[in-house]
C-alpha cells in the first residue's frame, strides 16, 4: 500500500513537471509564431502588436525584439526598428554570462528553458539591420557606430562571419558615408582580400585609396572595377532582401530505447540569388552587386556551436538518468524516465523573418532626380519603381524585399 502511494506520488510529481515545463516552454513559441504568421499573411501591425514583450517570457525577449525590429524595417518604420533592435543589442550584452539558474533547468528540461542568445550570425545581423536603418534615415554617424559594433562581432567569430560579404561591405559604406575614410579604407581592404574580383568592392576602394594618396593601390583596384565614373557622380545603393531564411529542424538521436538526445539542425538549402537589373532615365545602368547567403551562414553558426551543444546534451542525458534512478521504486523510475524522455526537445528557436539572401546593388548615377526601375529575375520577373535624388559624391540608400 505504502509502495503504491509512493508510486502515485512520483507519478503526480512527474505529471506536474511535464505540465509546468510544457507551459513554460510552449507559451512563448505560440505567441511569437502567431506574430510570424500574421506578418506572412500581410498583417504587419497586428504582428508588431503580438510581439509586445509583456506577453512573452523574458527568455524569448531577444527573439521577440529581433522579429519585431525586422518587421518594422520591412514596413518602412526605420526609427521604430532602430529602437527595437537597440533594445535587442542591450539585452544581448546584459545576458553575456553563464546563468547558473538556467543551467540547472536546461539540464533537467531542455535547452528551450534557457534565455535565447541568438546564433553568432544572428548577433551580427542585429548590427547589419541597424546599419541599414541608420543609412536609410541618413543618420550616418550612428551607422558608423553600428559598423564598429559589427566589427567586434566579426572579430569574435571571424572564421564563420568572414563569409558575410554583404555585412562587411555595408560596414565599409557606413564608415565612408560618415566621412570616416580611414576606417572605410581598412574595411574595404580586408573585404577585397576575401573577394578580390568584386567590382562592388574594388570601385569604391580605388576611389578611397586615391583620396588618401595611395595611387598605386587606387590603380590596382581600378583595373578590377573598370573605368572610373565621373568625379561629380553619386551612387544609388539598394539593399535587396530575398526569400525567407531556413528554419531549424529538430533531430533525435536514440542513445538507448528509453533515452534520446534532441538537437537542432538546418537542412541543406539550394537557392539562386536573384539577378537585379536597373533602369534610370529610360536607360539600363551599369551595376555592381555583392550577395550573402544567410541560410549558409546561420547553418555554419549553429555547426560552430556543435561541440558545446553536444557536451551539454551528454550532461543532460546523464542528469536525467541520475534523476530517474534516484526515484523510490522501479515503477517511479520508469515513469520519470518516460516523462524526461518526452521533455527532451530540440531548441529550434531562431530569427525567422530574416531573408534567405541579402544583396547589395550599387548603381553610379549623375547628380539630380531619377526615376528608377529595379527588375529582379527570380521565380518570374518582378519590378519596383521609385524616384531618387542623387547628390554629387554621395550614396543614397533604398531597400527592396522580394518574397519567394
Amino acid at each position: 500500500m505504502g509502495l503504491h502511494r509512493q508510486t502515485l506520488r512520483s507519478a503526480f510529481l512527474a505529471l506536474s513537471v511535464v505540465i509546468t515545463s510544457a507551459l513554460l516552454v510552449g507559451c512563448a513559441s505560440v505567441q511569437i509564431d502567431t506574430a510570424r504568421a500574421e506578418w506572412q499573411a500581410g498583417n504587419s501591425q497586428q504582428a508588431i502588436a503580438s510581439l509586445s514583450t509583456d506577453k512573452i517570457p523574458v527568455r524569448d525577449h531577444l527573439l521577440a525584439h529581433m522579429e519585431k525590429g525586422l518587421i518594422q524595417h520591412e514596413t518602412g518604420d526605420y526609427n521604430g526598428s532602430i529602437n527595437t533592435l537597440l533594445k535587442a543589442v542591450k539585452l544581448l550584452n546584459s545576458r553575456d554570462f553563464l546563468s547558473v539558474s538556467e543551467l540547472g533547468g536546461s539540464l533537467v528540461i531542455s535547452e528551450r528553458a534557457t534565455t535565447y542568445k541568438g546564433e553568432y550570425a544572428e548577433q551580427l545581423w542585429l548590427h547589419t539591420y541597424l546599419m541599414m536603418n541608420f543609412l536609410l534615415t541618413e543618420q550616418y554617424e550612428s551607422a558608423a557606430v553600428e559598423a564598429r559594433r559589427a566589427l567586434k562581432v566579426f572579430d569574435n567569430h571571424s572564421d564563420i562571419l568572414q563569409h558575410d560579404h554583404f555585412s562587411q561591405l555595408l560596414t565599409a559604406i557606413a564608415f565612408n558615408s560618415a566621412g570616416q575614410t580611414n576606417d572605410a579604407y581598412v574595411t574595404y581592404r580586408n573585404l577585397a582580400a576575401l573577394v578580390p574580383e568584386s567590382s562592388a568592392v574594388a570601385g569604391a576602394l580605388s576611389n578611397i585609396a586615391a583620396s588618401l594618396g595611395q595611387f598605386s593601390e587606387a590603380e590596382k583596384y581600378r583595373k578590377i572595377s573598370g573605368p572610373s565614373s565621373r568625379n561629380d557622380s553619386g551612387e544609388l545603393v539598394v539593399f535587396v532582401a530575398s526569400g525567407t531564411i531556413a528554419q531549424k529542424r529538430p533531430g533525435d538521436l536514440f542513445v538507448f530505447p528509453d533515452a534520446r538526445i534532441s538537437f537542432p539542425f538546418y537542412p541543406p538549402t539550394f537557392r539562386t540569388v536573384p539577378t537585379i537589373a536597373v533602369e534610370a532615365g529610360g536607360a539600363t545602368r551599369d551595376t555592381s552587386t555583392l550577395s550573402t547567403s544567410l541560410n549558409a551562414l546561420v547553418a555554419e553558426s549553429l555547426a560552430a556551436r556543435g561541440n558545446k551543444l553536444a557536451a551539454k546534451q551528454v550532461a543532460r542525458l546523464a542528469a536525467k538518468n541520475a534523476l530517474a534512478e534516484s526515484a523510490s521504486s522501479d515503477t517511479a523510475t520508469e515513469i520519470l524516465k518516460a516523462v524526461l524522455f518526452v521533455l527532451e526537445e530540440a531548441d529550434t528557436r531562431s530569427w525567422q523573418t530574416l531573408p534567405a539572401d541579402l544583396t547589395m546593388v550599387r548603381v553610379p548615377l549623375p547628380p539630380g532626380s531619377h526615376n528608377v526601375i529595379l527588375r529582379a529575375t527570380h521565380l518570374g520577373e518582378r519590378d519596383i519603381t521609385f524616384s531618387v535624388d542623387i547628390q554629387p559624391g554621395k550614396s543614397t540608400f533604398r531597400r527592396w524585399r522580394l518574397s519567394g
Binding site: L86, F97, S99, V100, E141, S142, V145, R148, K152
Partner: protein, 208 residues
Amino acid sequence: MKMHTISVKSASIALVVALGAVVLSGCAATTRDLNPDDPIHYDASYDFSDKKRIVDDLTVSLLNSPTVPVASGVPLLIVYGVANQTSEHINTGGITDDIRLALLQSGRYRFLSEAQRDNITKEVSYQQGGAVDPQQLITTGKQSGADYILGGTLRSIEKTQPRQWRLNKREIIYYSLNLELTSLTTGEIAWADKVEIAREASRPIIGW
C-alpha cells in the same frame, strides 16, 4: 527528544523567515540623489561622470589659453559639434552644449546659434510678410559673423580579454576627445586640447 524536535523546527522557521526578509528587502525599490561631482561608473562605458570631466577639463583649458586673440573684443564662436567615432551611441551635443554654457558664463567668448538659423529665417520671413508693425520689424543683413569654429572628435579604443579559463571577463576602454578652435579668417587652428580617459572593468562570467 520532543523538546529538541520543536527547537529544530522553530530554528528552521526562523531561518526561512530571516532569509525571506533578506530577499524581500533586497528586492525593494529605492531611489537616492547623487552628487554629479562624484565620479560613478557601473561599467567601462561612457557615462555622465566622463562627460562632466571632459567638459570641465576642456573649459578650463580654453579659458586659460593665451593663444586665442582677443584684441578685437570678445571672440565670436560657432559650434560645429563633436563627431562621435566610438562604438557607443553617444549624444555629443551634450558635451558641446555644456562647454558653450561654461564659456558663455565666463564672459570670455560669445556664440552664434547654428541650431536656430532656420528658425531665425522663418521668423524674419514671417515679420516681413506684412502682419508685423513696420516700426518693430527686424533689420535684415545685421547678423554677426563667427570668428572661430569650435569642433572636435570623440574616439574610443576597446580591448576585451581573450577567451581563456577565468571567472571574470575584463574589458579596457580608452576614450579621447580632441577639441579645436579654427579661425575662419585664416583657417589656422588657434587652440586645441584633448582629454583622455582609460578605464578597466570586469564582470563575472557566471551569474544567477
